[in-house]
Amino acid sequence: MTENNQHSPVLALEGLTRVHGTGAAEVHALRGIDMSVLPGELVAVMGPSGSGKSTLLTLAGGLDTPTSGRVLVEGIDIAAIGRKGAAALRRRSIGYVFQDYNLIPALTAAENIALPLELDGTSARKARRHCLAALEELGLTELADRFPDEMSGGQQQRVAIARALVGGRRLVLADEPTGALDSETGETVLALLRARCDAGAAGVLVTHEPRFAAWADRVVFLRDGSMVDQTVRSRAETLLSGGAAR
């Protein structure tokens, strides 16, 4: 990783606004959000229901287009590259982890992880090599040939994180990844996410549990679509609490 990459943000949101509906039905989901996430950084987004947390994630991943403002992923403006380009960006640069049902039931763990690579045209054998390496790194090798319905919720989420980062993808967008898990399993999942960020990935974590937000470097608070507060935690504290959890 070069020095330059170290300091240019993986994700940059500039004046991001999203308005749903028109006239009387107009809803401001996001109002002029500015935010950036550097490599190695995990940012938690918190706020009450309807505050715009999930909208922020969908805009960041190019699943939705902003009413105004820009989303830059590794310096590329998502709005400028069209729907196809955004899909390609998701294959190569962005990984999503949802609350539950993250994996495609028809594919094994290994195949799920390999999916973005295969969709991108990598041969099945090469893709499998990549994903086996990823699984080994995460200590999940024994799950490789299991189908989602043969895995626990925690295992599924860990496989989802592995998929989110396979093949050099550096941005993980996690929408309540622990929402459907018990607290202990939730901790192991977040520990894994933290570890991936420490290894150089950038992460955005939407959660409403302060306990899980504690794993982040920075916590952003949203209310009615606007950023109302930002807390920066000391790196040492983060490391310590992360270490304790491990």
Partner: protein
């Protein structure tokens, strides 16, 4: 490119596992696609296996011989033949002047054989064989089947081949029909009661159905021939199976032709000469039957049927794929979140079609093959010939399998595009966005409807082109299918006047046209087909009913005998009286001229005949030799209305059996009653001794003239005879083919010899099939050929087909509506839960899905009925135009006599329509309501 391939591999993997995960739905779609494949591949294998090679066919007919030489019965006069030497033999016009040809005597075949040829004879003829049940009309073959030259013509199944003149072998078909077995005895009529022993069972591989006895050469046929010759009925022929130790060439065949002998040569058939070397084609005015037109029509018809079947399957299977795509919406959303673009989503849904299509194709062809193998003996009996060997044509079977594959993919196309258009976000959140229906599709549909209707109209009104009508109707139907979403929208306007459940169902159907339209279209296509065929069949049935001519009034019977059976007439009459509900009997005699063995139709061998004479001034001008050819078309049309030219076709055809050969019968007033004629003046005339005549053209000055021909000469010229005038009374009634009824006193007065001929019966009620069979059986026991005619009125035969079609349409409708209902339930789960939450009774859930199903069925049936009636009417109109054109051509050419004017009724089968319109939606709705759980499913959290 390789990248695309890799991403497809991932898509296929997902589709394959998905298909396996939802086994029920996959199986349903697989069966829908595989069933036609099973049928078509089984048919292909059967047809190909049934088509034995030309060489095999020749071996079955000629054995090991090189050729078959056969008299053309021209008395040795030259002939021209088709190279196949099969049935295409034809004598050119100019030979008709040759007295040798007219004599019809056998040509001397032995003289025509090549020098040094070895030969055996193969005689064939027909005979009446005594069986356990009575007499059976069979064919007789005389052949030394054990001779090396005859090898392959017969297969010995059991016992032995006949070795002595009093031994025969019988085909399985004969043994089955006769109730006899190997070791039984039989006799043949005309052989003086000589016993023949059945020593073996044989089979002619080409004609399993043929009831045949195989005898030694010269053992049976010459005896039969002598007996038959007395009645001038000889039918036996003798062929020569010839071996020349090489080839019988086309030149050798032509040499034989010059001696009046026809040749079927293996070499010539397998290597046919060029057309210019065939005198028949170059000199004769013989037209080779061109079957190209039929072939093309067949291809177009087959393509249309296959196309419509594929469309039907696509329309039915499409919604099933759509259900699959809808159920796995979240999964497709996940693929999108992981970087899959529309192309990938389409690939996954299309792969579903590919996977199931492939499975259906492979399973379908395999099952078809298995089915053919298992049913081979039955199929062989049905086709009536043994297969050569099971023939698998890889190219054809691959083609059939490809159709299955393509059908699967085609069915998945629309769902694939719909799924790929969904936004990833909506898929992930399960939110339902507003679905816009395509604006282009209805326009394309409208265009297709207009184009199709145009083609059909032009086809039916201007060119009487049936094919055009069919093609136009097909295009128009596709157009209506494309228009379906827009039409479904129109139905939505009915909603505001409906109670809650149907209103909800209709709104839901209209708002979600994407899933409603294919199901409605599937129902539409099935119903349109059924209604089309039903309308056509009902119209044709009506036409046949109108064209049906009774041969007797209803519930009357008639029976007559040949000269040789007149002695048994008493027994026959007693049998009829015993088996049929006879109320009255009217006996008739016939007039005969010549020896006492002369029958009603035996004109030759010293027998005479009697004819009714049409007086000169009553003769139709069109029939006169000298003037007939000179009329203009307008004059001809005018003359057709002239009473002299009228043909009484309303008299029916079956009445021939009661014609004595002269259209005149001898009998009393009770015959009039039997024919349903109540005319006191005619009865009085009969009592007075006057002959009652039913056709005025024979009457002149109160008399008719009978021409008595004492001895019929074989000639094309008019027969010479002496005229006998008889006093006549004209009674213009329909006498069912009888022209004159002469009282016995008049016959005696004119010095006519009469013989008992038969009876008319008035029955007290209708006759059941069992009674008819009983009568036939009883008559068979008497060993007589006499065959009773019983008038039952018009018997329709198409009702079964109509019923089968209605049932089929009903099943398709319920299937399609069921799929659509399942789809809407998958969609509407949230709405139903909301309904339950605000206090709707559980029943509402049931009725709602019932109405959802019913709405789809009703829309499809209504549109389909409209779409089906129109092409059927077009088709009838086109046929009518064709018939009118033929009729006018006939009038123009002066062949107008005998052609009746054209009437093609169009009947809308209201019963079938009503059944479809009411019963099918109702049935579909009830079924759906029955199979819906009234309890709500426990709601799951975010996941589906």
């Amino acid at each position: 490119m390789t990248g695309l391939l890799h991403s497809w591999r991932a898509a296929i993997r997902i589709a394959r596992r998905d298909a396996w995960r939802s086994k029920g739905r996959s199986l349903l779609v697989l069966l829908m696609i595989a069933l036609p494949i099973v049928g078509v591949s089984a048919a292909d294998i059967t047809i190909r296996s049934g088509q034995i090679s030309e060489a095999q066919k020749l071996e079955r007919r000629l054995g090991a011989a090189d050729a078959r030489y056969e008299s053309a019965d021209t008395g040795g006069a030259p002939i021209m033949q088709e190279p196949k030497g099969d049935y295409g033999f034809s004598v050119a016009e100019r030979y008709e002047e040759d007295p040798r040809v007219l004599s019809g005597k056998h040509s001397n075949v032995i003289k025509a054989l090549p020098k040094g040829a070895k030969w055996i004879t193969e005689g064939s003829g027909r005979a009446l064989a005594r069986t356990r049940h009575g007499l059976l009309d069979i064919s007789v073959r005389e052949l030394d089947a054990g001779h090396p030259l005859a090898a392959g013509i017969f297969t010995l199944l059991r016992g032995d081949l006949p070795a002595r003149p009093n031994e025969v072998a019988a085909t399985e078909a004969f043994l089955k029909s006769s109730g006899l077995h190997v070791g039984s005895h039989t006799t043949l009529r005309g052989m003086g009661g000589a016993l023949l022993t059945i020593v073996g069972a044989v089979e002619a591989p080409d004609e399993l159905e043929r009831e045949e006895l195989l005898a030694r050469p010269g053992a049976v046929l010459p005896v039969l021939d002598r007996a038959a010759a007395k009645h001038g009925e000889s039918t036996a022929t003798t062929n020569y199976l010839v071996s020349v130790g090489g080839r019988v060439t086309w030149d050798m065949a032509k040499e034989a032709n010059a001696k009046g002998v026809m040749v079927m040569s293996k070499d010539v058939v397998l290597n046919p000469p060029a057309d210019q070397d065939v005198p028949l084609y170059t000199q004769g005015d013989y037209q080779r039957s061109g079957d190209l037109g039929t072939d093309q029509t067949m291809v177009v018809m087959a393509a249309t049927v296959v196309g419509m079947a594929m469309l039907e399957i696509c329309l039915l299977a499409g919604p099933a794929f759509a259900v699959g795509a809808r159920r796995s919406r979240r999964q497709l959303g996940l693929v999108g979140a992981n970087g899959g673009d529309r192309r990938h989503i389409r690939a996954i849904v299309l792969s579903g079609g590919l996977v199931i299509g492939t499975a259906a194709a492979v399973i379908g062809v395999a099952l078809g093959f298995g089915l053919t193998l298992a049913l081979r003996p039955i199929l062989e009996d049905y086709v009536g010939a043994r297969f050569g060997a099971i023939q698998l044509r890889p190219l054809e079977l691959t083609g059939i399998a490809a159709v299955g594959l393509v059908t699967g993919v085609l069915a998945a196309i629309v769902p694939a595009f719909v799924a790929s258009r969904q936004s990833v976000l909506e898929s992930l959140t399960g939110r339902r966005g507003v679905r816009h229906s395509s604006r282009v599709l209805p326009l394309v549909g409208l265009g297709a409807v207009l184009l199709g209707v145009g083609i059909a109209l032009v086809g039916s009104l201007s060119y009487d082109n049936v094919l055009g009508v069919a093609a136009g109707s097909g295009i128009a139907e596709l157009g209506i299918v494309a228009l379906t979403p827009a039409l479904v929208g129109l139905f939505g306007r009915l909603g505001r006047w409906m109670p809650l459940s149907p209103r909800l169902a209709l709104r839901d159907a209209v708002r979600n046209r994407g899933r409603t339209a294919p199901a409605v279209a599937a129902v539409l296509a099935a119903v349109a087909g059924t209604v089309g065929v039903a309308t056509y069949a009902a119209s044709a049935d009506q036409q046949h009913r109108q064209e049906y001519r009774r041969s007797l009034p209803e519930h009357r019977a008639a029976l007559s005998v040949d000269a040789d059976e007149k002695g048994q007439l008493g027994q026959i009459r007693a049998t009829v009286a015993k088996t049929l509900p006879v109320a009255e009997r009217a006996d008739v005699d016939r007039i005969w001229v010549g020896g006492k063995d002369c029958g009603p139709y035996s004109g030759s061998n010293g027998c005479g005949s009697i004819e009714l004479v049409v007086p000169e001034r009553n003769t139709c001008p069109l029939e006169k030799e000298d003037t007939g050819a000179h009329f203009t078309a307008a004059q001809r049309r005018g003359l057709r209305k002239d009473w002299r030219c009228e043909q009484h076709y309303e008299n029916g055809w079956g009445a021939y059996m009661m014609r004595s050969g002269s259209d005149t019968l001898v009998g009393g007033p009770q015959v009039l009653a039997a024919l349903g004629i109540h005319d006191p003046s005619a009865e009085r005339a009969l009592r007075r001794g006057e002959t009652v005549v039913f056709d005025r053209k024979y009457v002149k000055d109160g008399r008719i003239t009978l021409k008595v021909i004492d001895r019929v000469v074989e000639s094309d010229q008019e027969q010479k005879g002496r005229p006998v005038p008889v006093k006549a009374h004209l009674a213009q009634h329909n006498a069912y083919g009888l022209v004159a009824l002469m009282p016995r006193t008049a016959a005696a007065e004119a010095d006519f010899k009469t013989a008992p001929f038969g009876s008319y019966y008035t029955l007290s009620h209708g006759v059941s099939t069992e009674q008819r069979q009983e009568l036939k059986g009883a008559l068979a026991k008497l060993n007589v050929r006499a065959d009773p005619y019983i008038e039952r009125g018009y018997q329709a035969d198409s009702s079964l087909v109509l019923m089968a079609l209605s049932v089929f349409a009903g099943l398709v409708t319920i299937g399609a509506a069921g799929i659509a209902t399942g789809l809407s339930q998958a969609d509407a789960e949230a709405d139903l839960n909301t309904l339950a939450a605000i206090g709707a009774a559980p029943r509402v859930r049931r009725t709602l899905s019932g109405f959802q199903c019913g709405v789809v069925a009703a829309m499809g049936v209504a549109l389909g009925a409209a779409a089906g009636v129109v092409p059927a009417i077009g088709l009838r109109k086109a046929q009518e135009r064709q018939a009118v054109a033929q009729y006018e051509e006939a009038v123009r050419l002066g062949r107008s006599i005998g052609t009746t004017s054209v009437h093609m009724p169009i009947v809308v089968p209201w019963t079938t329509l009503l059944e479809l319109l009411v019963a099918v939606p109702l049935g579909a709705a009830l079924l759906a309501a029955l199979f819906t759980r009234s309890r709500t499913a426990p709601a799951r959290r975010a996941a589906q």
